[in-house]
């Protein structure tokens, strides 16, 4: 059997990758995906712990996380559409009016 710490390490790695993606992608949609990646990593950790602790609460929380992610995607993508419509670009570095 695989020690749970492996799963958690994997989730940590995925999380870190998500952060890197979030930091290094310029495309708003891709950054969004990176966020989803982080969420998934967290879910993995949840599930791993729930299975090692024999407690289903972890899975319940994953359920909620997924729901929230869905809502977030709906609203966020709507916002992305607005941005693309108004600024004619998806590059976050060109969407920087809010400064100084």
């Amino acid at each position: 059997m695989v020690p749970v710490s492996y799963y958690v390490v994997l989730s940590a790695v995925l999380f870190g990758l998500g952060i890197i993606g979030f930091l290094f992608k310029r495309n708003i949609i891709t950054m969004f995906m990176s966020i989803e990646l982080m969420l998934n990593a967290v879910n993995l950790a949840f599930i791993a712990f729930s299975s090692v602790l024999g407690n289903l609460a972890g899975q319940v929380y994953v359920f909620f996380v997924i729901v929230v992610a869905a809502a977030e995607a709906a609203v966020g993508l709507a916002i992305v559409i607005l941005i693309a419509r108004n600024r004619k670009t998806l590059n976050v570095e060109r969407v920087n009016l809010l400064k100084l």
Binding site: L23, R26, M31, V95, N96, L97, L100
Partner: protein
């Protein structure tokens, strides 16, 4: 027992009147305003009468009757409630305040009928009534102080009632400031009281003080300091040297105000306070001497100034000051009941005099200078007669109220040891002489001789009835007001003194610790003194008659011959100028050059602007991080996440 159980009714009624008139009165016709103001005052007067009836049936054990309504300040050991108290002294004050107050309210409806701000005037007046009643009803120094400050406020408002006149506003400010000085002393005295006795309720303080050891003559102990500080407050409120300067200027206010506030009631608050805390004063010979000295000095001083004043109200004002000096003199020689007695009679006749003067002014169309009057006797007989009665009363002509009270004071000043002394008595008698002189001078200048005003412009007319009725009432009171003391003349009992006995009995208690205040005086001596006093009054009357009826040219000659003293007197001893040079100008200079230009502009504004600059510059620097670039923000978020996570893990492992 209704009013006794609901003392709050008495002050509350005027407050309601003030509120209603002040808020809505501006749109209402005078009739409504009158009914409200008079209703409020009259009702509270009725309540006081009822209270008096109930009070007489009260068992001596229950006196003073204290009613505590709600706790007000409770800080550490300090506790002060909204509590009212009734005893004989309060009773007298209540009767005077509400009675005279009501009468003057009635008078005002006539006097102010043609003035602007009618409702405002009555609202202020009612407010004054409220605070004055709180003052006399208060069961501890704090509540008393509330009333004290409140009446000060109302006096300020009413002096500056014609706020379009620069002089009026200045006078108001002057009164306010001078009173501040006194109140400062009063506050310090209260603090010291609390520090000494741990409470400010009369019920606690006075017995405790009675039990405490008295200061030896010439010793400046705690008692002395308390007494002197309280005396400062009293001097401020009751216009004694050196703080009397505001009262003459206070005549800028409407005449009823002068009558009610600056003659009958408020200015006597100082006397009331001294009498209220007589125990403390009795414990310090120094303080007693100070009170007596200040009183005597003020009496003489003001009287001399009054000799040469030409403004009818100014004369009365200075006479008020000197009469107040009389009261202080009485308190100073331990004859507190005499002082209160004079307070009452003075309230009657001085109120009467002011109202009459007001009537004269009203009749001559706002003329206040006596040199432009004369021969009004026939034209305004009612005013003339009532004012004459008042003059007789204040001059101490036998049979009139002033005679009894003044006589008592003089007797006490002469006889009562250890405080009394011949000197005080001499001063008192001199003052009496001067008083009768300038009062009759006023009468002769105003009502006798030939008319010195322009007949065609000024149509002299008798005042309306609602002004005359109060005059009559007060005149009657000025006559009979002193008769309770009459029996003392033929060895009977002085009812007034007897009535106040329980209050000042503590004086007797204290008396056992020191040489007895009153030596049993021989009736003959008493009689002698009385004769001298009457003589003094008569001399004053005669001299005035000589100078202003027989040989009307005499005063000018006199002024010519004695130029320097005349200038001195007419210049009121240049006290105002002295104060201006010694205190006011330096203060102004310091305020402008130090407080304004240095403290305010440099320090305070500097601090504020400095703070603003600092924050602005920090903002400027921090602002650089707000690049508007989401990725930078993300990086910052990561930094935060790292910090937070490491912290959590550290806590978890630690």
């Amino acid at each position: 027992m209704f009013v006794l159980n609901h003392l709050w009714i008495i002050p509350l009624l005027p407050l309601l009147g003030a509120a209603v008139n002040g808020i809505f009165g501006r749109r209402w016709p005078h009739a409504v305003t009158n009914s409200i103001a008079l209703g409020a005052t009259g009702l509270s007067f009725v309540a006081v009468l009822e209270l008096f009836r109930e009070f007489t049936h009260l068992a001596p054990a229950n006196i003073p009757w204290v009613q505590t309504y709600l706790p007000w300040i409770a800080a550490g050991g300090f506790r002060s409630d909204f509590s009212l108290q009734v005893d004989q002294l309060t009773m007298v004050m209540l009767l005077v305040v509400t009675g005279v107050g009501f009468v003057i309210h009635v008078y005002s409806t006539g006097y102010m009928a043609h003035e602007g701000g009618y409702a405002r005037f009555f609202s202020y007046l009612n407010l004054f009534m409220f605070f004055m009643l709180v003052l006399v009803l208060g069961a501890n120094y704090v509540v008393l102080f509330v009333g004290w400050e409140g009446v000060g406020l109302c006096s300020y408002l009413l002096i500056g009632f014609y706020f379009l006149r620069q002089s009026a506003t200045n006078a108001g400010n002057k009164a306010f400031w001078v009173n501040r000085i006194g109140d400062f002393g009063f506050l310090l005295g209260m603090f010291l009281l609390f520090r000494t006795f741990g409470a400010l309720d009369f019920a606690h303080v006075l017995p405790a003080a009675a039990g405490a050891p008295a200061d030896a003559p010439g010793q400046f102990g705690t008692m002395t300091w308390i007494a002197l500080l309280l005396l400062t407050g009293a001097c401020g409120k009751s216009a004694q040297i050196p703080l009397y300067v505001w009262l003459p200027d206070a005549m800028e206010g409407p005449t009823p105000v002068s009558a009610l506030i600056h003659a009958a009631t408020m200015v006597t608050a100082g006397v009331y306070m001294v009498a209220r805390s007589h125990v403390i004063f009795l414990h310090s010979p120094v303080a007693m001497t100070a009170v007596a000295g200040i009183g005597a000095l003020t009496a003489l001083f003001a009287a001399t100034i009054g000799l040469v004043q030409t403004d009818i109200k100014k004369v009365l004002a200075y006479s008020t000051v000197s009469q107040l000096g009389y009261m202080f003199l009485a308190c100073g020689v331990g004859a507190f009941s005499a002082g209160i007695f004079h307070l009452m009679t003075h309230a009657f006749f001085k109120g009467l005099l002011f109202l009459a003067a007001g009537s004269v002014i009203h009749a001559t169309g706002g003329e206040q200078d006596m040199r432009k009057m004369g021969g009004l006797r026939k034209k305004i007989p009612w005013t003339y007669w009532t004012m004459l009665i008042g003059t007789l009363a204040i001059a101490g002509i036998p049979g009139f109220s002033g005679f009894f009270s003044k006589d008592e004071i003089l007797a006490a000043a002469f006889t009562s040891s250890p405080y009394g002394s011949t000197l005080l008595w001499v001063v008192g008698v001199t003052t009496a002489l001067l008083t009768s002189f300038y009062m009759f001078r006023l009468i002769f200048l105003t009502f006798f001789g030939s008319a010195r005003y322009d007949e065609h412009e000024v149509h002299v007319h008798e005042s309306p009835r609602n002004m005359l009725v109060p005059l009559v009432i007060l005149a009657v009171l000025s006559v009979i007001g002193g008769w309770q003391a009459a029996p003392a003349l033929w060895g009977g009992v002085n009812h007034f003194e007897h009535f106040l006995e329980p209050v000042f009995s503590t004086a007797a208690v204290v008396g056992e610790q020191m040489p007895s205040p009153k030596v049993p005086e021989a009736a003959s001596l008493e009689f002698m003194l009385m004769l001298v006093a009457i003589g003094a009054a008569a001399i004053g009357l005669y001299v005035a008659w000589r100078m202003y009826i027989q040989r009307t040219g005499m005063p000018e000659k006199l002024a010519e011959s004695l130029k320097a003293p005349y200038q001195l007197l007419s210049g009121k001893y240049f006290v105002d100028e002295l104060y201006a040079a010694a205190i006011v100008r330096p203060l102004v200079w310091i305020s402008r050059n130090v407080l304004w230009h240095v403290v305010d502009e440099q320090m305070i504004d500097g601090a504020v602007n400095g703070v603003a600059d600092v924050s602005r510059h920090t903002g400027n620097t921090v602002r650089q991080t707000e690049s508007g670039n989401t990725r930078s923000y993300a990086a910052w978020i990561v930094v935060g996440a790292i910090v937070f996570t490491s912290l959590l893990l550290w806590l978890a492992v630690r």
